[in-house]
Symmetry: C2
Subunit: 320 residues, 2 copies
DNA sequence: GTGAAAGCGCTAACAT
DNA sequence: ATGTTAGCGCTTTCAC
């Protein structure tokens, strides 16, 4: 140990000279950059809050997020998208990040895709999408539980003939929601017609599918949406044929985006705590960096919460 | 020059071995980390889009944003907040970022606050808030022009007795909006009563001030909001006294947040292109890094755009 | 054109 | 307890 007096004096001089350690130089030596690569586009409610959660945890642990995400590629060729994603991860690696938090483009990348990460011993945590074939940690939402919440809410209101507008089944997230919802409805003796929404967030597509849903006989008294985003389209389609929400049709979403509460009527939905997902992901990646949390990939699914608003109502009111 | 054949062979071997240059090591040598420190919280519509714009430009120029913002401090002591901000900038500096993009906490920091940046020759670009006493580049919105746009819109609709709910005048942004709005109204022969909103985004405070505005005689037929955020409160206050928008009161905002279009009625507002602000800021900081763009601090104010929706209407309809 | 050597700012492993 | 040295992975300079 150095003597206390010396220590103080040195520190004083250092400050007077305006000395600041060069973390790059330190990183090169210690092999720890204290930088975490974050490939989560801070777009919309979802990504923003995730990034905030990540930042919050990293900062208190003396780390910083280096942001880099795939620039959206209209050519929906999955192979191109994947290789773009790989390029992003590798770029992050070039900066010698200690770990990577990734919101993957899809669920079906192969493990060897991330060979470079493994070779370097850099931990990978994916958020929201769980990679099937990759040995990586994962933090997301308990989609099955959330869908069950939605189904039970509808059942409790007396709905038996229901429908759902599902997301692309190629994403585990949407498959889980759809599956668990249908199962819950069925096992309570209800019927559920499921339609898949081709590409998310296309208003026209949503309206088209909603119309098909509303044409099925008997007409469903409630509809579960794979994502809040779809609500505007569903509301529009319902309004177009003079159906009132929730009197003629109950609608329940998933996510609880900021705009859900602003819709007319405000949307009942299943709330994901996105910020918490970010926090847990950061936590995990940090723990892996410290060499704790060894062994099998961790799969964390945070419990969502039912937020009842005005877009769902008891079936007894009026019709049927 | 190396011979072409050798070059190709070397590169091939490098790839086979999975060689990736260590950018940290390179940075330490060249003095360029190719990292830009970004202190813009990606929160809400505003920060998110700004960060996206920044990212977009940085990436194509082979740079990456290192994110680090001040964690919001409820103790509104300006001195504490400033020193927290300084700490953030210094932390960024420790990573040897090539430049800094900052969304400042307030407009009144002194130049010596950023001494460390100057000493190191690290360029600073502030967004949205222009630091009065600091020799830094700035990219923001032409607030005066935007406010004039709003005023002229109202005037064109026939409004002469108008009001505004202004933001805290300690921010240049809000002072400019308020001032230019009032001036435009006045010089057209109208009258304008101005009330300052104590702390932004407090619903109760907004409602209270709106009530005061609506109590003034003659009652204003239109109100200009320093920020879209205030709209919910104003709408609520108007509804509470049975006033219909826009029939009894026209409302115009500033920003064009995503929720503006979702309000009932949809909010007429002045749109800032936040993403473009981010892009220009990144552009500027990059140029400074290259040593171009020498000399006086650049002050860029992007031209906003009037978005007419349903919350404003001609005064001729009905009253007065 | 190519190889060797110095050095960037630091840490870690040694001596003293 | 303190001082010295080697070396992290790169770029730059200067011989060859």
């Amino acid at each position: 140990m150095v003597s206390e007096e010396r220590r103080v004096r040195i520190l004083a001089v250092a400050k007077r000279l305006g000395y600041r350690p060069n973390l790059m130089a330190r990183a090169i030596q210690t092999g720890r950059s204290h930088i975490i690569g974050v490939s989560v586009p801070p777009i919309g409610d979802f990504g923003s809050r995730m990034v905030c959660g990540i930042h919050e945890v990293l900062v208190v642990s003396d780390h910083l997020p280096l942001l880099h995400w795939r620039t959206p590629d209209p050519s929906a060729d999955p192979e191109r998208i994947r290789s773009a994603e790989l390029a992003v991860v590798n770029a992050l690696l070039d900066y010698r990040v200690d770990g990577v938090i990734l919101f993957p483009a899809d669920d079906w990348v192969l493990d060897l895709h991330f060979r470079e990460l493994h070779r370097r011993g850099v931990p990978l945590v994916t958020v929201d999408r769980q990679l099937q074939q990759v040995a990586a940690d994962f933090v997301g939402t308990d989609d099955r539980y959330g869908a069950r919440l939605a189904a039970e809410h509808l059942l409790a209101l007396g709905h038996r003939q229901v429908a759902q507008l599902a997301g692309a089944m190629s994403y585990g997230t949407y498959a889980d929601r759809s599956d668990a919802f249908e199962e819950t409805i069925r096992s309570a003796g209800g019927t559920c017609v499921t339609l898949e929404k081709p590409a998310l967030s296309e208003l026209a597509g949503t309206i088209f599918q909603t119309n098909r849903l509303l044409d099925s006989r008997p007409r469903p008294s409630a509809v579960f949406l794979a994502h809040d985003h779809l609500a505007s389209g569903v509301f529009a389609a319902a309004a177009a044929r003079g159906l009132q929400i929730p009197r003629d049709l109950s609608v329940i979403g998933f996510a609880d985006l900021a705009h859900a509460a602003l819709l007319h009527p405000p949307l009942t939905t299943v709330r994901q705590d996105t910020e918490a997902i970010g926090r847990r992901a950061a936590d995990l990646v940090l723990r892996r960096c410290l060499g704790q949390e060894i062994g099998e990939p961790v799969r964390l699914r945070l419990v969502p919460e039912l937020i009842v608003r005005a877009s769902t109502a008891s079936i007894s009111q009026g019709r049927e």
